[in-house]
Amino acid sequence: MSSGPPPILRRLLTWALPPGRVRDGLSGDLDELYAERVQEGRLHADVWYGRQLLSVLLHYPPRRVCAVWTRRQRVQTMMRGLGKDLRYAFRTVARQPGFAAVIVLTLGLGIGANTAVFSAVDSVLLRPLPYPDADRLVAVWLDGRGEPIGPATYSAVRDGSRTLEDVAAWSGWGFTVTGDGGAEAVQGARISTNLPQMLGVVPLHGRTFVEEEALPWGGPAYAGGNAALLSYGFWQRRYGGDPAVVGRTITIDGMPVPVVGVMPESFDFPSPTAELWTPIAVEPSEEPSAGGAYRLVGRLRDGVSPEDALSEMRGLAGALRNEYPDGFPDRWGEQSEVVPLRDDLVGPTKQTLFILLGAVTFVLLVGCANVANLFLARATGRRSEMAIRTALGAGRWRLVRQLLTEQTVLACLGALLGLILALWGARIFAEALPPDLTGAREIGISGRVLGFTVTLTAVAGLLSGIVPALRTARGELQFTLGEAGRSGTLGRDRHRLLGSLVVTQLAVALVLVVGASLMLQSFWRLSQQDPGFRAEGVLTFRAAAPEAFYPDASQRTQLTAGILERVSALPGVASAGAIHLLPLGGSNWGNALQVESRPLLPGQDGPTVAWRVATPEYFGTVGVPLLAGRGFTPTDRTGAPPVAVISETLARQVFPGDDPLGERVRTGFDGEAWTTIVGVVGDTKDLDLASTTLPQIYRPHAQVSLAGMTYMIRTREDPLSLAGPAREIVADLDANVPVSDVQPMDDVISQSIAEPRFLMLLLGAFGAAGLLLAAVGIYGVISYAVGQRTREFGIRLALGARPADLLYHVLGGGAKLGLLGLLIGISGSALLARFLESVLYEIEPLDGPTFAVVAVVLASVALLGSYVPARRAARVNPVISLSGE
């Protein structure tokens, strides 16, 4: 007996082998064989036993030792299992194509919508500007957002700042390019010569500006400096992409200007519509003062934060105020802001995009809840399958894994569908967003967007699948295989789970619908806003005379008069007038107003008014009513006393209770001369329908002959029919005057509310989708529950319950779910309303009637969804249901 194998080796062997017949059989065999070998020598036998032990360890790897080896084995097993799962999953999906289609469609829509919105968010908000270290670029507003400054102030900032590596100035500008290729109105900017270098942009051809070729601000009225930079698009379009254009002279605003370079395709500062840049020198010829036309862009030094720069700017502004008290009003510079350049260029679209992203996430949530419901409902049908597999030895985790694989396959199919939808959706976005929005052009499926989609798919798949998978695998093990399909009552657990899913859906759908209806009301109110003029039947176009060709005021007056005279003579035209800035055009010329009879105290600034130049017929043509005094007449021309007409709001704000007629006023645009108020007209909306009406002052064109005017023609016919004739008239008068922005005035109004309309449409669609999904969800759940409880209902009916009782019972269940959903949803909506505040127009976010109406709608949806199954419950035939199948 002592001739057994070495005990320690034997103990190791016994420990390594899996218990059961392998351990019993093998260790016994080895003992036996050892006994034979020991006769040939103990050492020989021991060595043999050792080698046997090694072989055992190799073939039956102990779980605790050699973790790496084990993990590799387990991974290999898992991989093999995964392959099997995938094949099984595809087979299962193929067997139930309808079920699979619904899931793929639901997930696909949700994922697709999210991807589309995210691609817009990515392109407009997340993607960095195409300049090196673009996150170091900031927009500097010394006197608050939107307040431009003058050249001397710019110099002071540039010289005095230590936090900013460099500061550049720019001002958006409209140029007129004439010569070969015809007269064209071109958007662009006047920039300080250091702007391209500061942005880090290298021209495609030629060079950028040098200091010497910039003209001072106070110089000639035309905007062309001694050099011009072309955009890539402009260069391709007008000059055929010919590199020899560099060095050639083109005519800008009537002046010959040499082209010094062409910018690369990616350069679109300040917006994608900019095509031409000229340099501006900002040598101060005067003391710094408030007001001006420049916006500042700066580059932060390394290690400096925007907050540091902001406090420095506040300090600089304060210093300027103290040093030049006459130039700056008391509180100038206290509203300074330093904003990352990207945010500054994007503006309010940011909120729109985030709201959309939130809404679309909600739709996906509702969709996932529906999908989860579907999985759970189907789980019942697979109970016998699960029971069999468990009996055959499948572990719970294995079952869960296989179910998850199925769900992942469906989710991936949904994601594919979603990507296709998103491609289409991204294009819609690209067209719906304003064309001058940086990044709007490039909306598409980038790498980051793809990564987002993949993550979203995984999350959506898990969300909708994990609970059903766990439940399915665990669930009904107590049912023997013979009892497939029948259950007495619905397990309380499952009922609660389904119920909570439905409640979630209802709550989310409520939030969506509330959001959508708030937007709807807001948009409705916005579109009902009276612009102050009648736009129907009015055609508008812009004609800007190149200033160098029209150096005399009388020439400009004559041109405008000539255009108006000929246009009025066209058949069907009722009247024609001109104004220098299109109402609702999005831009403004503002200045401080001084009243002669009410002098200002030192350090005080007059109210800011919107300054406009118009011809006498303008008011009549667009239907602005005359409220007091008179409009402009032919006597108001150069040499005659300067006159002005003010708007109702200006009269009310500046001369409350008094008669403004006869008062003398002036603005910075009028120079030294005081103008006499001769009339008061109705207000018109200026920038857009949503902003509050500014006080407005009008000067007659005959006295202030601006070269660029916007013409308005009222006609009895279709406005667009006049487009061709109008162009011909202008071209006939002077081929060098470009005609641009030809559109009916109705389009202008429509354009100004395009973004709110887009938002409203999308939110409406999402709200409807969410509501539909919730309705389907609640119907599905109640219907399923009723189906499960058919036997129970049969029993109840047999025991004397009336069908109506059952009906109310089921309805009651649905109502309870609905109520819970409403409560949660209402609190959610209250939160949402906070976010919507920024885009809602004159609608209180916590609008009582809206909430009430939506709650009623949702309650009816819940009831309706429960009603049909409830009827079925009431109609259960106890005989049939109790007799089994």
Partner: protein
């Protein structure tokens, strides 16, 4: 069972030996195999092969009585199933077909 999994070389040897022994147990198989093939048989390899053959349905095993001579461990007896016999026959036939006419090349094997 439409398609039959192929037998590995060692599997084939083990299965054939089990067939020969009729209702042999582990140690017997080891002795027989070592004698006939002339090479050392590792217990771990043998047993995992037996497991595999059993999972393929070619063998069935059962445990015997605890044997005091083996430290109380019972023996594991194996028997070849009809499927197993068929698999062996098929593979043998295939081998013979492949070897048809090749004996001459074996020469001084």
């Amino acid at each position: 069972m439409p398609e039959r999994a192929a037998l590995g070389e060692f599997e084939h040897l083990v299965l054939a030996t089990a067939l020969r022994l009729n209702a042999g147990y582990g140690a017997e198989l080891v002795r027989e195999l070592e004698e006939r093939t002339g090479r050392q048989v590792q217990g771990g390899a043998l047993y995992s092969t037996l497991d595999r053959l059993e999972s393929k349905g070619y063998l069935v095993s059962r445990m015997g009585e605890p044997d005091s001579r083996r430290g109380g461990r019972p023996k594991r007896f194996v028997e070849v199933t009809p499927e197993g016999v068929r698999a062996l026959a098929e593979q043998r036939a295939a081998l013979l077909r492949v070897w048809e006419g090749l004996e001459a090349k074996l020469g001084r094997a």
